[in-house]
């Protein structure tokens, strides 16, 4: 582990307190950390340092956060984890649809921070084509198993008999496990670009899925609702 190349993370955050906390946590975790305090600076750092992951505060003083995401996405797929304050709820879904990979709402703890960064890094370095999913054709978390070859979902070894639409929803979330998928992106992925923006069908399907795969649908274990944004499939925590 000692001579492993360090992953470089850019923190684009204007608040010195949060910046100090992020920096200290990430350094202790063995990441290489660079910081930027405004949007222009951040864009410059991304093109000159090519960080492995960007932590982007949506409320930078000089530029609109979504504008920064768009500029970054023009030329790189570097994962972007958005940091938002609670008052910017609407911006979260928009940031994700513009190409951000994940988001955290202030305040957040170190556990959440590190989990998000690990997920974001994993999705670039071992995409679903090369990960465990591609090796075995299965995604497993807890007692849930998605078999992509047979198009079946098992709970504790038992086939849960999802309808075709339900299977497609679960399969999509499983491919992006650990990441939040917005309603909009799911509708587009499942029903094509012409799909209506009404996510009611999706929500009703999800209620059906939960009744089948969640031991207690009121305290979900496998598929979490990110209120007002979308859904997130639980991810197996690896040591």
């Amino acid at each position: 582990m000692a001579n492993e190349i360090k992953r470089k993370i850019l923190i684009a955050e204007d608040d010195p307190g949060i910046c100090t906390f992020l920096r200290a946590t990430l350094l202790a975790e063995g990441y290489d950390v660079i910081t930027a305090h405004d949007g222009q600076n951040a864009l410059g750092m991304i093109s000159s340092h090519c960080p492995d992951c960007v932590l982007l505060d949506l409320g930078l003083p000089d530029m609109d956060g979504n504008q920064i995401i768009q500029s970054i996405r023009k030329w790189t797929h570097t994962p972007i984890v958005v940091i938002s304050a609670r008052s910017m709820e609407d911006d979260k879904a928009r940031a994700l649809d513009l190409g951000a990979d994940d988001y955290m709402t202030k305040p957040f703890g170190t556990v959440e921070l590190l989990a998000r960064i690990r997920t974001a890094l994993r999705h670039t370095h071992t995409t679903s084509e090369t990960g465990e999913l591609a090796l075995t054709g299965c995604y497993r978390v807890g007692g849930l198993e998605i078999d992509y070859n047979k198009c079946r979902v098992y709970l504790d070894g038992e086939d849960v008999h999802l309808t075709p639409n339900e299977y497609r929803i679960v399969a999509l979330l499983g491919k992006h496990a650990g990441r939040v998928l917005t309603y909009k992106s799911m509708l587009r992925e499942l029903w094509g670009p012409a799909a209506s923006s009404d996510n009611k069908i999706l929500r009703v399907h999800m209620a059906g899925i939960r009744r089948k795969i969640e031991p207690n649908p009121n305290e979900p274990r496998y598929i979490f609702t990110e209120v007002g944004v979308g859904y997130r499939m639980a991810e197996e925590e690896r040591p």
Partner: protein, 347 residues
């Protein structure tokens, strides 16, 4: 502009109805129509009551006089200024219109004043509750951090102080989240961002978030089997549930669990959060939503955290949704908080 259009439509509608009614009555009487004047008095009264300001009422009395004279008084379909009743009819209609308009305007002004006073009182209550909720944990954080600066603390003590800072900071986070929710509900004319939500998703998300906090109790949920779709601002309703759960952890000392019951009837969804703790102290129910319970429980050693802001925020949010939040005793022994949300059509 909308109000003006509405007033104009009311005016035109009532006047047309009055003319129509008078003409229908004229069919019965060949002679002067004795009902025309009362019909127009009624029309002017209604217009003055239903529209804003004096304009429409005065216009109605002028047009009404003209109509009575021109259409319903001999000679018909001719304007005749000679009859003695003419100035009387006009002045009567005008008086009615002016009096009713004056009364209407006065009532509206009083309503506005009362509304403003209520708002003012709500803000004052809220500020008082906030100040209290913030001051106590801040004092504890300051105390802990100043102790931490001292060098001669054992590792154990340091750990305890860090944990207490953590706990109090978490509490402050909750308080600020509540404040943000309130500003969204009462922030000027900004209405709620209502969307059709699957109720169980909101419940699930609230429970998952609540269960992450230290000392969280298990939540037992009873819901109808079918999917309930309720129009709501999801983050705010989620906040209400989290607040109610938090209240149980913070105040019901002997509680072992939380029970959430969901029922639907008559276009309303009713959610009830119950616990089996020691309940609301006698006499604590009135004023519980204004932070009144705090004063009652002041003598308790561990009652430093008020229920004030959490509950008043809950009520503000639920009222903004057109529902109502009530508190009562639970058959399980603890407290029962129950709120309704209008759910329109069912799925």
């Amino acid at each position: 502009m909308n109000v003006r259009l509405r007033d104009a439509l009311i005016w035109a509608g009532i006047m047309a109805a009055a003319v129509g009614l008078s003409m229908a009555l004229s069919g019965i009487y060949d002679d002067n129509n004795p009902f025309a004047t009362p019909v127009f008095i009624l029309a002017v009264t209604l217009i003055a009551r239903l529209t804003h300001g004096y304009r429409y009422g005065v216009a109605a009395s002028i047009v009404g006089t003209f109509c009575v004279n021109y259409m319903f008084t001999y000679p018909f379909w001719e304007f005749d200024v000679t009859p003695t009743g003419y100035p009387l009819t006009f002045s009567m209609l005008l008086m009615v219109s002016l009096i009713i308009s004056a009364l209407t305007t006065q009532i509206k002004r009083q309503e506005q004043l009362r509304f403003a006073a209520e708002r003012e009182k709500m803000h004052a209550d809220l500020l008082r509750a906030i100040a209290h909720d913030i001051r106590t944990p801040l004092a504890s954080i300051l105390g802990a951090s100043s102790s931490l600066k001292a060098q001669n603390l054992s590792l154990e003590n340091r750990q305890a102080l860090v944990e207490s800072i953590d706990r109090d900071a978490q509490w402050l986070v909750r308080v600020t989240e509540n404040l943000l929710s309130v500003t969204r509900v009462t922030g000027g004319d900004v209405s709620l961002r209502k969307t059709d939500e699957v109720l169980e998703e909101i419940i699930g998300s609230a429970i998952v978030k609540y269960r992450r906090s230290p000392g969280a109790l298990p939540v037992h949920v009873e819901t109808p089997e079918r999917i309930l779709i309720v129009p709501m601002d999801p983050t705010l309703v989620e906040q209400v549930l989290i607040n109610l759960f938090d209240n149980v952890s913070a105040h019901a000392r002997t509680a072992t669990g939380i029970w959430l019951n969901v029922r639907q009837a008559d276009g309303l969804v009713r959610l009830t959060v119950e616990d089996d703790g020691d309940g609301i102290p006698p006499g604590g129910l009135p004023g519980i939503f204004e932070g009144g319970l705090r004063d009652l429980s002041r003598n308790r050693p561990d009652a430093r955290r008020s229920m004030g802001i959490g509950l008043s925020v809950c009520r503000t949010i639920i009222r903004a949704h057109g529902g109502e939040l009530t508190a009562d005793g639970s058959p399980r022994g603890g407290a029962a908080f129950s709120f309704t949300l209008p759910c329109g059509e069912e799925q």
